[in-house]
């Protein structure tokens, strides 16, 4: 048991994910790509909700901003991906800095309301600013990054563009998750957890709670922006509902489903939810109904999410073995 825990699971999973195109069909590559991006989005939200204990109901704003940033730069200005991708983090993070500055001054329900209000502002702008964002119609036909040079290489030459993009996504998301993991494990991350557990006490020992919360807000926004940037390309288009409040709750559900208390829980939630969605949609068109029921069960039976339930189970098993 203990030895299993010491494996670098993140790395193992990233490498495993790279083999999906080798074993699965095109459809599975598509599905896996979807999951990987949402995993990053959910994990970025977890930095706020799970680690710092700030319930944001407007996290889709930064996802949307990231998607529009990368999309606009690549489509309208033909900026290469290497620049357009970090730009998503920069802009989303910058916006999170402005919004977060006001949000962290509020507590609990008011914090959630203000994040929602800001997200709706972003949505309203994307929805109405036709010249830049394409308004209601969104912005179709975002180009893929340029993979021409890769095709010339031996071994990996001659793949489909979508497969190249999948590899790129896996590697980038793997890097982002590794970074996030480092952040959560760092003294800074520990301090965030302290704030979640007892903000007052953190204040007493001389921590500037608001500044820490703001930093977490900006980081979460920036990583959500990166997820958005990838998703816009993956989705072949960027639409205003990326920033609508129902998207924010979707990602919250993933986070909760996987388990907020653990680092990889939200990514697991993304995986399970997307696979489940794909399965259930083939039986019935009433996916939201099923999702709602799952959510109710989750809230009442497994408030710790899947990862939380697994931990409890493991602990119980261990106790049985020791007894």
């Amino acid at each position: 048991m203990a030895r299993l825990g010491r494996l670098p699971w993140g790395l193992v999973l990233t490498i495993a994910a790279l083999f999906v195109p080798a074993v699965g069909s095109r459809f599975y590559v598509f599905l896996a790509n979807d999951i990987v991006i949402w995993a990053l989005f959910a994990t970025s939200l977890n930095l706020l909700v799970g680690v710092t204990g700030l319930v944001s109901f407007g996290h889709a704003a930064y996802f949307g901003i990231g998607a529009y940033t990368t999309g606009l730069l690549m489509k309208k200005l033909a900026v290469p991906f290497v620049l357009a991708f970090p730009a998503a983090a920069l802009l989303a993070g910058g916006l999170a800095l402005v919004f977060g500055f006001f949000c962290v001054r509020l507590t609990r329900i008011y914090f959630a309301m203000l994040t929602l209000a800001f997200a709706q502002i972003v949505w309203a702008i994307c929805f109405k600013w036709n010249e830049v964002t394409g308004g209601e119609q969104g912005m179709p036909e975002i180009p893929y990054p340029d993979f021409d040079r890769l095709t010339a290489l031996p071994l990996i030459g001659g793949w489909r563009t979508s497969e190249y993009f999948y590899f790129l996504t896996v590697i980038l998301v793997g890097l982002c998750l590794w970074l996030l993991r480092r952040i959560v494990g760092s003294p800074f991350g520990r301090m965030l957890a302290t704030i979640r557990e007892n903000a007052e006490r953190a204040e007493f020992i001389g921590v500037n709670v608001r500044r820490y919360e703001l930093a977490a807000f900006v980081l979460a926004g920036a990583f959500a922006g990166l997820a958005g940037g990838l998703f816009g390309i993956f989705n072949r288009g960027v639409f205003p509902d990326f920033a609508y409040w129902t998207k924010s709750s979707e990602v919250l559900i993933m986070t909760l489903l996987g388990g907020m208390g653990t680092f990889y829980g939200p990514a697991l939630g993304a995986l399970v939810l997307i696979l489940l969605n794909q399965q259930i949609v083939s039986y019935t068109e009433y996916w939201p109904f099923v999702l709602g029921v799952i959510l109710v069960v989750l809230l009442f039976v497994f408030p710790g999410g899947l990862a939380g339930a697994a931990q409890t189970l493991a602990r119980r098993l261990r106790r049985v073995r020791h007894a």
Partner: protein, 276 residues
């Protein structure tokens, strides 16, 4: 004005139960669908629309009561996240159920026969029905205010909003009271939906739109504050209509900016009180 009907229910729930109810918009939508259904059953004409509207509101209120009794009450005092997500789960379940029952086609209800006419004001045509709604809003506001301020139940509700435990210790059945608050709020939401059905087409998706609008109204006026909600509805209407006049494309933007502004400066709203 009808927005006030919906927002007042939302505000009532927040004021007493301390829960932001995303599903309130869905109750509103169900009110509209049920009104359509009752009109279908009863047939149009005469005073039947009013019976249908009332029946729809009662049906929604009953549903609200059941939901509160069976599920919602287990979440009081839990983290906000769980409450918000539970109400969101309700949105998903109920709106999909509505889609199963009534399909995705638009439904419309004809105006009650007594109010089908219209008249001219300053060169604009105003249907009688719209004027009726305009007058009904304040009337219902007064009625709710009267119940809250002047009756025994109203006193209990206000007391529960201030201090639930003390009220319970004084021998009031707070659990039942909470159910009633939820029922009344659902009734207001359902009534709002039923009354709007002759003015706007009833479609799936109307719930997620209206709830955000109602949030704006409630936040501007003050969460849990009754007259604040009234003021909020008026401010919202003014900003939206004058916004459309001056900078048509960004009037929605202005509304949300106003909401954010209020939250930043006075998080408890224009007429609300700060939470302890």
């Amino acid at each position: 004005m009808f927005l006030f009907l919906i927002a007042s229910g939302l505000s009532l729930i927040f004021g007493v139960l301390r829960v932001l109810n995303f599903a309130h918009g869905t109750f509103y939508m169900l009110g509209a669908y049920s009104a359509y259904q009752f009109v279908q059953w009863l047939g149009a004409g005469g005073g039947r629309f009013w019976i249908a509207a009332l029946a729809a509101a009662l049906a929604v209120a009953a549903l609200g009561g059941v939901v509160e009794r069976l599920l919602f009450r287990h979440l009081y005092g839990k983290e906000e996240l769980y409450q918000l997500l539970f109400t969101y789960a309700l949105v998903l379940i109920l709106s999909d159920a509505a889609k199963m029952i009534w399909g995705t086609q638009q439904k419309s209800v004809s105006r009650p026969s007594a109010l089908t006419g219209s008249f001219q004001v300053f060169g604009a045509t105003v249907p009688h029905y719209n004027l009726f709604i305009l007058l009904l809003g304040p009337a219902i506001a007064l009625a709710v205010w009267f119940v809250l301020q002047r009756t025994r139940v109203g006193r209990f509700i206000r007391a529960a909003a201030l201090d639930r435990e003390t009220l319970g210790a004084l021998g009031v059945n707070v659990d039942a009271l909470y159910t009633w608050v939820f029922v009344i709020a659902s009734f207001l939401g359902g009534l709002g939906g039923a009354l709007i059905s002759p003015m706007r087409a009833t479609t799936p998706g109307m719930d997620t739109e209206i709830i955000v609008e109602a949030f704006v109204v409630v936040v501007i006026g003050g969460l849990g504050s009754f007259w604040g909600t009234f003021l909020g509805a008026i401010v919202y209407g003014q900003v939206l209509s004058f916004g459309i006049l001056f900078f048509p494309r960004f009037s929605i933007f202005a509304v949300f900016a106003l909401m954010a502004g209020v939250l930043i400066i006075r998080p408890w709203g224009l007429l609300g009180r700060p939470l302890k």
